[in-house]
């Protein structure tokens, strides 16, 4: 697992005069699971959005399999097919059944045979325990179910990398588990993923590497055990402390 799939070099992202990301560099290797941590508003979502060119960047470069990613890339849609993204708010298409939500892009964008994709979609739905929901509409599903469908929708495109942006943040606590289990399974199969999450124990369990971002820079990175047990920087220590509670008695 040493082939670099995604390479970010000196990425700079500004909104007007407000510099959000200020020189971010890292590589993602095939099969690697990277968890991005950082305080609210530090630019984690923005980073993921830059990676599939939903946001234009103001400096630096992003390469996917050697191909430059930016919002003016000539084969932007081709690049995006190789990067799957799952959002916090699911964003299923409300006017389509579960199955059609999953089939629309492989069939219309990748021009694959409908029957072949359908068989694959049903298999994936089975795996996330939602095969019997194939003809339901998004409004008939719970949040956890919607998010599992969104993951299947992204997987069916056979992306090289999967970007997950706080996919459990909008869920009721009892539904978080069912979604995270799906992601854990993907990690076991060797899917390459970049995950933003506030679920620290999940992050620790799944990450091969943690990136801690603050003030527009990667402040610290390393193996989860090192990062969580022996954070090196004051800012990382402070960040981790915000998740702990003192006893009130």
């Amino acid at each position: 697992m040493d082939e670099v799939i995604l390479s970010v070099k000196n990425l700079v992202k500004r909104f007007d005069d407000n510099t959000i990301l200020n020189g971010i560099s890292f590589d993602v290797r095939r099969g690697e699971v990277i968890v991005v941590l950082g305080p609210s508003g530090c630019g984690k979502s923005t980073l993921l959005r830059c990676l599939n060119a939903l946001e234009p960047i103001q400096g630096g470069e992003i390469f996917l399999n050697g191909q430059a990613v930016d919002s003016a890339a000539k084969d932007l849609t081709g690049l995006r097919q190789q990067i799957g993204m799952v959002f916090q708010s699911y964003e299923l298409f409300p006017h389509m059944s579960v199955l059609n939500n999953i089939l629309i892009a492989p069939v219309q964008v990748q021009k694959r045979q409908r029957e072949e994709v359908r068989a694959e979609a049903l298999q994936l739905l089975e795996r996330v325990g939602l095969r019997e929901k194939q003809n339901s509409f998004p409004r008939e599903l719970s949040g956890g179910q919607k998010q599992r469908v969104a993951i299947v929708r992204a997987l069916c495109m056979h992306p090289e990398v999967l970007l997950l942006d706080e996919i459990t943040a909008a869920l009721d606590p009892e539904m978080v588990r069912e979604v995270l289990d799906v992601v854990l399974n993907l990690a076991r199969e060797g899917k390459t993923m970049l995950i933003v999450t506030h679920e620290l124990s999940f992050a620790r369990a799944i990450a091969d590497r943690v990136l801690f971002i603050d003030g527009g820079k990667i402040v610290e990175q390393g193996k989860p055990a090192d990062f969580f047990d022996h954070p090196q920087t004051e800012r990382a220590k402070q960040f981790l402390r915000t998740f702990e509670y003192e006893s009130v008695k």
Binding site: L54, G78, R80, F87, E91, F93, H95, V109, A154, M157
Partner: protein, 224 residues
């Protein structure tokens, strides 16, 4: 039993004349709708584009049409423009022009509303799946906008049909005008005709608009 004046309806061709009047009203509304829909869609899409000048112009048009009572518009087009420009248009043509101006303005606002009500995230998740701009419009945005639009535009049609009752003011013989004529003609023989005639007008409007409203309600429920 009180004399409701219903017998006038069955005198001569009165009922057929009333239906003929209703048909005139419906014909004018349907023709106006047929022209307003595509024009309204076009203007509505333009309103969501980022051209300030076009936006301001369309906004002015919409507000102008909304502020003007339809009656005034009818008078301007039928009496005003014929005098000013020396052309000769029928009352029916004038009505179609006014209703089209009005329908286009209202429709464009409905289209604009439907388009901007679709969250930005829907565009993004389509794009993240590798869809091009035109695929995103075709498969994701337009189907959702149309679902929001259909019940609203059906309601616009019923509003239009109702508002056609104004066109008797410029001499178009629609259902209310026919009613007045029938009541006038039978003033001596059946002095209570007004009740019977207007009751049937009420029913005619009701049965023309009710199925349309019902359909709108159905679609709204189905797609909500």
């Amino acid at each position: 039993m009180p004399d409701l004046g219903l017998e006038v309806l069955f005198k001569g061709k009165n009922l057929a004349r009333l239906l003929g009047g209703l048909w005139t009203a419906l014909r004018i509304s349907l023709l106006s709708v047929a022209i307003s829909l595509p024009l309204g869609v076009l203007l509505g899409v333009l309103m969501t584009r980022n051209n300030r000048f076009v936006k301001a112009l369309l906004q002015f048009y919409l507000n102008f049409i909304r502020i003007m009572p339809q009656m005034v518009l009818l008078f301007i087009v039928y009496f005003g423009s014929t005098r000013a420009f020396g052309w000769d248009i029928s009352g029916e043509a004038a009505s179609v022009i006014v209703f089209t101006l009005w329908g286009t303005a209202e429709m464009s606002d409905l289209v604009r509303g439907a388009l901007i009500s679709i969250p930005r995230h829907q565009y993004e998740s389509a794009e993240a799946l590798g869809m091009s701009k035109s695929q995103t419009s075709l498969y994701i945005i337009i189907p959702q906008a149309v679902r929001r639009l259909i019940p609203l535009s059906i309601n616009l049609v019923t509003r239009m049909i109702k508002t056609t009752s104004l066109i008797l003011m410029i001499g178009v013989v629609e259902v209310l005008k026919v009613s007045q004529q029938i009541i006038e003609a039978n003033r001596m023989s059946s002095p209570n005709a007004a009740f019977g005639v207007y009751l049937s007008v009420f029913l005619l409007y009701f049965f023309a608009c009710w199925p349309i409203s019902l359909l709108a309600g159905r679609l709204e429920k189905k797609w909500s």
